[in-house]
Amino acid sequence: MGSIAEDPGRGGRIPEHSKRVAWQKIDGETVLLHLKAKELLGLNEVAGRVWELADGSNTIDQIVRRVTKEFHVQDEAVGTDVIRFVDELIALGALTLRDD
């Protein structure tokens, strides 16, 4: 799958958690556990929130709107960051994408 940063229709796509990772919020920090590699990845607060929202019930556009609202940050920058982060998680096998 190519980068969604290059995909003009990306905003309507829905990211969801892959079976390849387990995750938990530990002392306020979201950690992802890659099941095959048994490696942990720690996420900061905003990334952790994106991860929670990327549970198959929100489009990328919806996630951007929620994060923008909850963290009181500027829309364009958030959109770019969310898309880059989602791309990274797809590359790690932590997220998959489906169409609405």
Binding site: A22, Q24, I26, V31, L35, K38, L40, L41
Partner: protein, 368 residues
């Protein structure tokens, strides 16, 4: 990233987050292992329980949600034999979807291709399989089922080929102590890692004949100077505790909803049919008592010369002596002898450079 896992584990230990939960789905089993810690398998079922009393599907779902909410990341289903439970796929799916890593603890005999495919599709990540011999006569006599060895080995291969993380667990006992080297060769040839434990516990039904299976000092010495040399722990000069993760980042739940500090330490700490997991985990006097223990509370260990070499398991000690902080005096439990033997081996090898530090033996208290 390995150190990242250690950081998270330490944080869970410090903050009392139940990162590792083992849930016993049933006491029923298709084998009759002679060392089984559940109950004497010469009986058809636990002497004071009924199978109908085991947790229902709805209760298991609720418990999975509650442990998840309280911080569980690593969820293990055990038994009995977890695979004889008719709703196992459903439980695996429920736990996996909520974000937990699901491991099954199994004897492996029921891991046929359709079952493995179903479990993998449901989201099972790993399977720990018990192996008690390097050949069918030894293993089958141990589990009291002809053909079990072949089915277990085939099941492990099937699970491995399906992409599950498979690991063998050995328990070194009188019957198989001279086969450990061949067992290691077998699993190595299969490309499957293994863990070894030589500690045997009294059963949870109070019967103690399983303790007769423990190996003696000579066999222990032979084993740890031979095929298990890599498991002799190097002296840990920094060690100032004999405690494991029981009640701090580890928790066990019985097939009847009883919460334990660890599935290997059956100290009743509250029942999930009467209280929520959160209330028990946070407020149970038994769990909080364990969290408050310090080295001075372990009378024989505090001044023991062998402490730095000891694989002491509070659960095993509790099952064997009735005293979680035991032994009361050095030598009251078998593990004292194990530590003494390891200390001697280390002393003998003091001038010889050792290989790198391996993972320790797999005790029930440290299944993380």
């Amino acid at each position: 990233m390995g150190s990242r896992i250690e950081t998270i584990r330490h944080r869970a230990l410090r903050s009392y987050i139940p990162l590792n939960v083992t849930l016993e789905l049933t006491l029923a089993c298709n084998l009759r292992c002679i060392h089984c810690y559940n109950f004497d398998r010469a009986l058809s079922y636990h002497p004071t329980k009924e199978r109908e009393e085991e947790l229902t599907g709805a209760e298991v779902h609720r418990i999975l949600d509650e442990v998840r909410e309280e911080g569980c990341l690593y969820l293990a289903f055990t038994g009995g034999e977890a695979l004889v439970h008719p709703n196992l796929d459903d439980f695996v799916r429920h736990a996996g979807r909520s974000g937990m890593m699901v491991t099954l603890k199994s004897n492996g005999t029921l891991l046929n291709p359709p079952t493995v495919q179903r479990l993998a599709a449901a989201g099972a990540a790993a399977i720990d399989i018990s192996l008690y011999g390097a050949d069918a006569p030894t293993h089958d006599a141990f589990v009291k089922m002809p053909g079990a060895f072949d089915r277990t080995v085939a099941g492990a291969r099937t699970a491995r080929d399906a992409g599950l993380l498979v690991k063998f667990n050995f328990v070194a006992m009188r019957q198989n102590v001279d086969q450990i080297e061949r067992m290691i060769a077998l699993t190595t040839e299969m490309g499957i890692p293994y863990g070894v434990d030589a500690q045997v516990r009294a059963r949870y039904d109070g019967s103690r004949s399983s303790l007769d299976l423990r190996i003696d000092r000579a066999a222990l010495d032979r084993l740890y100077r031979g095929p298990l040399r890599q498991f002799v722990p190097p002296a840990d000069e920094q060690r100032n505790s004999v405690q494991c993760a029981c009640a701090r980042s580890v928790c066990g739940i019985s097939a009847f909803g009883e919460v334990y500090p660890c599935i290997g330490a059956p100290i009743p700490s509250g029942n999930l049919r009467k209280q929520s997991f959160r209330d028990i985990w946070r407020d149970s006097p038994a769990l909080n008592s364990i969290r408050g223990l310090r080295l001075k509370d372990f009378p024989a260990c505090e001044t023991c010369d062998h402490m730095k070499y000891c694989w002491r398991s509070s659960g095993v000690i509790y099952a064997n002596t009735g005293n979680y902080t035991g032994p009361r005096v050095f030598g009251e439990d078998w593990v004292c002898m194990e530590a003494e033997v390891m200390h001697k081996i280390n002393d003998d090898a003091a001038s010889i450079e050792r290989p790198g530090t391996p993972a320790g033996p797999v005790h029930h208290d440290s299944l993380e």
